[in-house]
């Protein structure tokens, strides 16, 4: 005869322990299943493209969106594959990302920090975007990057040129392929010295916001280092449309060179006004008066028409480059849309591909794993020659293009000609460079979110 000691209380006790024991692994599994924000669980993965669809930079945003659509098509195995064929990493197979079909949602940054944060937040929370990318302003990039850091999402910056994005405001979850103000200054200075000599008096007009300041500082320090003198640096309101009252006094100051640290509509208007005032026909200090635009955008240069002719500047990429990557991208984009891509389209396409590739190599969508795969990653075949995603600040280091407004353009796209491809060594700086936020600037730790 056997005796069982099974009591009601004992049963509940044993049951609870056994249940907890059985449930334990599932809790762990559940936790690892949501190891990071918006981990894709189905057969698709959603990317969030946050670009200006309204406001003054809407045309640039539209070009970014075209590039993203092309990138998604290529990632999912459609089209001719574009730069996937020339990319040095062969992890991407044209079957989506980690076998999941790539889908996307879009947001409108309006080129306003608060609107951009709101649209990014909505794409993360409502649409389940696992990565946010795009934008056409440094203010927006810094704001959205900080949001993505908090949310545990990777941010692949679009067109942002301020030093701060990967300088004092760098974040572990944020990555920038586009070049920056420091690189523009370092690349431009030798070309300017060569063209205009080392004895010049420069007058800066600077857009009164973050990007303007870092660009002024970069161009000032690199031109002063080669012997130029800075006569004055005047801040102009971002909303300014007529720059005549800022341009007219330039000649009175004794300056023989005008540096326009302006972008977009500001650049178009200030350059148009400067040319109208006949500055370029003048002689000062026995030299021909010159104008410089540190950051060129072909889309915007179009607005200034013939005024850009002969004016030096720098750019991240240009469709006339003849390397295999650029040719493949221009062919792919041009065939689909009927015109060549802008530098904004190029950097956003590349960012999307680099993210997808990093996920494939990491074997995970976890932002920390992706970040690790991107940090220190060296690649080629994406249109800028050998490139390094530096681990210290998540900034891409590559050759910089110095360009000049073309004298006799063949078409409406043929506005800039490449004067020099400045080698990457010449534009490389230490991660704790004073213009980059000094020793205090750190990435912090990666945040996988949930």
């Amino acid at each position: 005869m056997s005796k069982t000691d099974l009591t009601r209380r004992g049963l509940i006790k044993t049951g609870t322990i056994a249940g907890a024991g059985l449930a334990l692994p599932t809790i762990f599994t559940a936790q690892s299943a949501a190891a990071h924000t918006n981990e894709p669980t189905g057969s698709t993965v959603t990317l969030g493209f946050n670009v200006p669809q309204s406001g003054p930079y809407a045309d640039e945003g539209a070009d970014e969106l075209r590039a993203y659509e092309l990138a998604v098509e290529h990632l999912n195995g459609g089209g001719d594959g574009g730069m996937m064929n020339t990319f040095s990493s062969k992890a991407l197979q044209g079957n989506g990302i980690l076998g999941k079909k790539v889908e996307y949602v879009t947001g409108d940054t309006q080129t306003k920090s608060d609107a951009a944060r709101a649209s990014a937040k909505s794409m993360i929370e409502k649409d389940g975007a696992v990565m946010i990318t795009g934008g056409s302003s440094s203010g927006v990039a810094v704001a959205v990057q900080a949001l993505c850091q908090e949310a545990g999402i990777i941010f692949m910056a679009g067109l942002t040129h301020s030093n701060d994005t990967t300088g004092k405001d760098r974040k572990a979850n944020g990555f920038r392929h586009f070049f920056n103000s420091y690189m523009s200054g370092a690349a431009l200075a030798p070309v300017l010295a060569n063209a205009y000599g080392t004895d010049r008096k420069a007058y800066h007009l600077t857009a009164d916001y973050n990007w303007g300041y870092t660009t002024e500082e970069a161009v000032k320090s690199s031109t002063e280092a080669m012997g130029w003198e800075t006569v004055a640096a005047v801040k102009t309101p971002l909303t300014q449309t007529d720059f005549s009252s800022y341009i007219a006094p330039v000649l009175q100051s004794g300056a023989d060179t005008l540096v326009l640290n302006h972008y977009g509509g500001n650049m178009v208007n200030s350059l148009t006004n400067a040319v109208q005032f006949g500055l370029r026909d003048k002689q000062v200090n026995g030299k021909d008066f010159q104008i410089i635009v540190p950051l060129y955008s072909r889309l915007m240069a179009k607005g200034a028409g013939a005024n850009v002719k002969g004016i030096f500047g720098s750019t991240n990429w240009h469709w006339s480059l003849q390397d295999e990557g650029s040719k493949a991208f221009v062919k792919s984009f041009g065939t689909k849309y009927g015109f060549p891509p802008s530098q904004a389209a190029h950097t956003t396409y590349v960012q999307c591909m680099l993210y997808a590739d990093a996920v494939e190599r990491a074997g995970s969508f976890n932002p920390c794993a992706v970040g690790e795969a991107l940090a220190g990653f060296e690649f080629d075949g994406m249109g800028n020659g050998p490139t390094l995603y530096r681990a210290d600040d998540h900034q891409c280091f590559k050759d910089v293009l110095v360009v000049k407004g073309k004298e006799n353009p063949d078409s409406e796209f043929d506005l800039l000609e490449i004067v020099e491809v400045t080698p990457v060594e010449q534009v490389t700086y230490s991660p704790d460079h004073p213009q980059m936020g000094g020793a205090e600037a750190t990435l912090g730790t990666c945040n996988p979110g949930a």
Binding site: K235, L251, G265, T272, F277
Partner: protein, 343 residues
Amino acid sequence: MEAIILQILNGLDKGSAYALIALGLTLIFGTLGVVNFAHGALFMIGAFCAVTLSRILTLSREVIDESKTDFLGNPLKVDVPLVYDYFGEATGAAIINWSVPLAILFAIPIMMLIGVVMERGLIKHFYKRPHADQILVTFGLAIVLQEIIKYFYGANPIPTPAPDAFQGSFDFGAMLGFDPNLIIYPYWRIIYFTFAMFLVGAVFAFLQFTTFGMVVRAGMADRETVGLLGINIDKRFTIMFGLAAAVAGLAGVMYTPINSPNYHMGMDFLVISFVVVVVGGMGSLPGAVLAGFVLGILESFASMREVLEILPGLNQIIIYLVAIIILLTLPRGLMGKKGVMED
């Protein structure tokens, strides 16, 4: 001294644009009693009349140039403007070059039509409504017009240069005995100022010396009595709205070579133009013109480097600062009349 002369000159062209827009605003306010926030949009549409005419004049046929290639490596398609075919290359090129002045003729009927349609189609329904309603509806209209233009022309500025004959600048300094290059002023801005003066003069003459103008002035003073005399004042006021739209439009057409037009240029001018109207005195046409120039010149002075070194940021607030001071000392503005908006 030369810096002061220079900034006065600079203030003149900016002041011209403010004055022309404010003049139109005051005309509409004085006749119809409507606060028209869509007036900046009319300035912008005028500028786009110039863009449109230049696009029409450069309508082209494609010719394949085998000797060159496009960005995809195909033979380059070169656009040959149709006007070259009709008038020969030299005359055709000259016509395209002069597209901005030609756009004046193109813009007048279009702007009058837009003005009349706007007044008959929308604004007349708001005559008896409070000013707040008028502001809301006209502001909404401005945004709609702005988005329509953006849809067709994109968000980027579109270069619309002045004829080659007016490129470059005039050396006032050399003329006044200063060193050369110290006081230079672009030819087109001189033309803009002259054109604005002519337009202002024409509007005043029209109101002062024609029977139509007399009736309108009578209507502005006492609408009811004029109506009782059997005169259809509404019809005349509609025409005045068309006229005010044309004035704003022409200001926009001639402004295009100064700054490449884009879809939001109207908004850039609108707020300041309202300040101009208030400073000049509600309902006062000479006040609007005077205040336009005064504020334009003051704004130029405030942008001087020497001033900004002492008072940084003054350039951004000067207009509003002056407006506050003037309204505190002269509550009706510089030339405001008693009884306007005071009931």
